[in-house]
Amino acid sequence: MLIVRTDHDINTHYTYEWCNPLIKMAESKGLKVAEIKPKDVNIKNFKAKVEKLKPSFIFFNGHGSKSAFLDNEKNEFLNCKHANFFKNTITFARSCDSLKELGPKTVEEGCKAFIGYKKEFWIPRLHGMETRPLKDPVAAPVLSSSNIIAEELISGKNVKEAIYKSLESSSQKILDLIHSNDPYLSATLPALFSNHSCLGYEGNGSSKL
């Protein structure tokens, strides 16, 4: 498993921190986890890691566009030209828009399945919790629903099952939030719904790690 994550603003700090429980889980299941740290995110390091480790699972966390991933300086470092680097992997991109062009292109080039979002990835947050993203009650339902995808893949489920489980979890949370009187959780609802609506995959849904 190769984790690529940036950490240069509040949004990416939240996704960065929410990878930590997944790393622990993957290691506890005996999966070898390699990482490209935020400041080392560039195409040279990405290519080197992929060629050396041949990861079965690539998990990208950071800003993206419909055709590219952005580095820690918010510059494009990987785009459709590099789609062949994802050959034989299952890739999950927790970034905006990447399912529009980059995902399909990687599948054309041999990626087994590319999971991602077709629109912006929303994260709601409570002020003052920026240093403790894992404890932020407003962000937690959103990021835990997204984490389920990686958890399920690590646990041996296929892509379709992993997505189904994540959607099922977010549906349940959406219903709970609709009936909740907690004004803070009312902020979670639009973000949860938006991410729920644009999650999907390209490629073979039966693929497993």
Partner: protein, 72 residues
């Protein structure tokens, strides 16, 4: 895109119920407080239109989510 006044008011009304000490990170658009989101809707910016789209989609899709959940 330019939504009609009633739709904009409906979305603003939904946003105003969110506590003011909450922000939203919306991908590469950046970080927005509740009041900034309301302002974006009012000014009909790209992000404002995205918020209106999302709220309308929410209203449209909600019955489907509830029905699917009941089936399961």
């Amino acid at each position: 895109m330019g939504y009609n006044k009633e739709i904009k008011e409906l979305v603003k009304e939904r946003l105003i119920r969110i506590p003011s000490n909450i922000s939203f990170s919306i991908g590469s658009f950046g970080d927005f407080t509740r009041d900034e989101l309301i302002d974006e809707v009012e000014k009909e910016t790209k992000i404002g239109d995205a918020i209106v789209d999302m709220q309308l989609e929410f209203i449209r899709k909600m019955p489907k989510i509830i029905a699917e959940h009941r089936r399961n």
